[in-house]
Symmetry: C2
Subunit: 167 residues, 2 copies
């Protein structure tokens, strides 16, 4: 093996930094989002449906994804929108997933690092995340990365509410 | 007075349904959002700054506002974004404000009604709202209108986290 070679079956994730996903990598993003849903027993569209949507979304201006490893073992999905309280855009981290056997190695932190660098480069003013109430580990992870519960300028936590109009 | 006339100083809010705001109504939307921040002791940009942003946002495709009354006494502000889990768009109700002396008269419910009608007409698949943990009245209000805490397909509540990159 020469330096840079990767043993068969091993991901390059620990040697290469995470990257922004191109629209050509929609299938990789879709595969990991599908794994995420399966792991957490969430109903999930077919991988092909997700991949088709992601090919469109990743080619547009409102969505980007971060991948780590080749083959990819971690994904972050981010959507952007305007907001009246900020000059710049607001980014919502819709999903962050690292394959179970590779957790605890700093991959998630490296992905948040690229998210923050990308946000600064793109003039994004606020990053938002919804975290399950019981997932204290995830809450601590985001707090370590500078996030806090509740709205800006408020010490009060806020709950995420939603209404699905498709069912 | 003929029917339809409004005594000086009285709003038409209780006789006319809420409406989608045009970009020309940006100043009205801005005035109410500013009142909202002042009431809740939240730092707020100048009304002129908000109005200038809203003239742009309301003319675009990612933001709409609902107003009630003339002069307006209630506002809702909604931003749209794509989401991989849905074919259609996801709407976030960023703000809903009714002037204090007019609360409890069904104005907020009428505005949520127009929000839901608009969402259906525009093919929006999900509506999201962040509600302060302590604001049990608001949580009950949204639950009455079909919203629930936590993600879709989950019984678990989720907290809203954010990181402001401007400070």
């Amino acid at each position: 093996m020469t330096p840079g070679d990767v043993p068969e079956g091993e991901s390059t994730v620990e040697r290469r930094p995470p990257r922004l996903a191109s629209p050509d990598e929609a299938a990789e993003v879709a595969r990991l989002l599908h794994d995420f849903n399966v792991e957490f027993d969430t109903p999930t569209p077919d991988v092909e449906v997700l991949a088709a949507r992601l090919r469109v979304l990743l080619a547009g201006e409102d969505t980007f994804a971060i991948l780590a490893g080749s083959p990819a073992v971690a994904v972050a999905l981010v959507t952007l929108r305007p907001n009246v309280w900020y000059e710049g855009l607001v980014a919502l981290l819709d999903e962050l997933y690292v394959e179970p056997e590779l957790r605890g190695r700093g991959i998630g932190s490296a992905m948040i690092g690229l998210l923050l660098d990308t946000a600064v480069a793109w003039g994004i003013d606020l990053i938002e995340i919804n975290v399950d109430e019981a997932d204290v580990d995830a809450q601590r992870f985001y707090e370590r990365h500078g996030f806090s519960a509740g709205a800006v300028d408020s010490t009060e936590r806020a709950f995420y509410f939603s209404r699905d109009l498709t069912s």
